[in-house]
């Protein structure tokens, strides 16, 4: 598209069908301990694929 660049993103609607395994790290456990950002977390299933 001439005026729109769409970044490569995970299809969230699609992820709802297969997601929810819960293997990912608990949000707060990683580095901050004071906020609940989950954007920087990786999906364990996606990591394996």
């Amino acid at each position: 598209m001439k005026r729109i660049v769409t970044l490569d993103t995970r299809d969230l609607a699609e992820s709802a069908k297969t997601g929810g395994c819960g293997e990912c790290q608990t949000s707060c456990q990683s580095a901050c301990k004071t906020s609940c950002g989950i954007a920087n977390q990786q999906c364990e299933q996606e990591k394996e694929n």
């Binding site: 769409t6 969230l12 790290q25």
Partner: protein, 456 residues
């Protein structure tokens, strides 16, 4: 829901429910903004008027752009609907998968801003006995259901004040991996004073992540991170952290700082940490009562926003120069990030994640561990306060009225329950100040992604 914003020369359109991020030119930015509200002919009229001095934009260009936006809508990448609007989230049985082990309610620093009251959590100084830790590991395995990966954070106070127990507990958990068919992932948070060769060697072998507390410039760090002899700690910890980080090959650690009202120019602290050679950096706003003199204020917000924007610009610049670094809150894995279920259901405190005190009591997370009304049970009898844990289980983005219209909710999953509780008295409230900073950070993070996409 669409969130459009302009930052650092980029025009960005985020489609909230699909998670799609679009870097667009000014015309497309305007067309997306009008698309759902106006018919095509009206959009054309308004755009012809707005861009009348731009010879490259004629009616056909505008109609082509409208067609592209319509195509993205059809493909679910713009104006995607809320998947669970007005409906109950699908029921999901949740198992415990992470513990924050408070191996030491004691600290060898006496930081004024410590949420844990100098590591004691408003109680008596205490170290977790090995037997309590073993029971906690057993509790975790027994209550983890089908989860394969279990997280254990060795936390405090200062966990290195109980180092021998940390090592023995890690060995105990590893020893149970094969028969329980679980895999442990350990993390450790330390102020650095007791880091030595033994700590470094053991952590490099066993710890998935190490969080090293450093607030930045010496004068900033030493202002609040002082020991009981009232001496600053910067000079003692920085060389140790540098050696530690280098030995981890610049992976599996964060240097984590806290900024307060006294250093709203926290970008200088982040850059100082980067200039010390660290590449994995986290810097958190202090969270405390508005009465606390260190607490950030509403008047600080414009400065903080500007600092976050300048940080993003500086990171792009340094990346280009081959000396980039990672800032925890700007890490967004758009292509392989969390699934929608994770984004809707929050951090897992009080359901999948518990803090364990040295006495073996369970709390929904480390930030509740000083509040007896938040006790969920203990590691011998398990969760006994089911009313409490049910409240936490219902704590998702749809439980918070304030989140309904917020474009960032699938990046914060409703925010921190503890911050909400301390700000409003309710775990399903919102800590509005934190939300404002969070939204700014996500805008910056997405801008960085747009800039990197354009470069590639």
């Amino acid at each position: 829901m669409i969130h459009e914003y302009k930052l650092n020369g980029y025009n960005i359109a985020l489609d909230v429910y699909s998670g799609s991020v679009h870097a667009v030119d000014p015309l497309a930015y305007d067309v997306i903004g009008l698309f759902e509200a106006e018919p095509p002919d009206e959009i054309v009229r308004q755009m012809l008027l707005k861009y009348r001095d731009d010879p490259s934009i004629d009616e056909q260009e505008i109609r082509d752009c409208i067609s592209d936006v319509a195509l993205l809508k059809t493909s679910g990448k713009l104006f995607a609907p809320d998947p669970y609007a007005g409906a109950e989230l699908p029921p999901r049985k949740r198992f415990v998968k992470a513990l924050c082990l408070h191996v030491a309610h004691a600290c060898n620093l006496n930081c004024e801003y410590c949420f844990a009251s100098q590591g004691r959590y408003q109680g008596e100084r205490a170290l977790m006995p090995y037997e309590v830790g073993v029971q906690a590991i057993d509790f975790l395995i027994a209550n983890s259901g089908p989860h394969k990966t279990l997280d254990v954070d060795f936390f405090g106070g200062e966990p290195l004040m109980n180092w021998d127990v940390v090592k023995r507990l890690a060995a105990y958990a590893r020893g149970r991996e094969a028969e329980s068919r679980k895999r442990f992932r350990f993390t450790l948070t330390t102020n650095g004073l007791l880091v030595d060769d033994d700590v470094i060697e053991f952590c490099n072998r066993e710890m998935y992540n190490v969080v090293m507390s450093l607030d930045g410039r010496k004068e900033v760090h030493d202002r609040l991170r002082r020991d009981y002899a009232d001496q600053g700690s910067y000079d003692r910890i920085v060389p140790k952290f540098q050696r530690f980080a280098k030995s981890r090959h610049e992976r599996g650690y964060y240097v984590r700082g806290t900024f307060t009202h006294e250093n709203t120019d926290f970008l200088q602290d982040i850059l100082h940490i980067a200039d010390l050679g660290f590449t994995q950096i986290s810097m958190e706003p202090m969270i405390g009562s508005p009465a606390d003199p260190h607490a950030l204020t509403e008047a600080d917000l414009p400065t903080l926003y500007a600092q976050y924007e300048q940080l993003a610009q500086e990171m792009l610049k340094r990346e280009k120069e081959g000396r980039g670094f990672t800032f925890y809150h700007y890490m967004i894995d758009l292509a392989h990030g969390p699934c929608l279920v994770k984004r809707l259901t929050g951090c897992g405190s009080g359901t999948e994640y518990f803090a364990v005190t040295p006495q073996g009591d369970l709390f929904p997370c480390h930030q509740f561990a000083s509040d007896p009304s938040m006790k969920a049970g203990d590691i011998w009898n398990g969760v006994t306060n089911h009313e409490l844990t049910e409240r936490f289980a219902r704590c998702n983005i749809y439980a918070r009225e304030e989140c309904q219209d917020c474009w960032a909710k699938l990046y914060c999953s409703g925010g921190c329950a503890a911050n909400a509780y301390h700000a409003t008295g309710d775990i399903t409230g919102v800590y509005d100040y934190g939300c404002k900073l969070f939204r700014k950070r996500i805008e910056c993070a997405l801008m960085i992604k747009a800039a990197q996409a354009q470069k590639s």
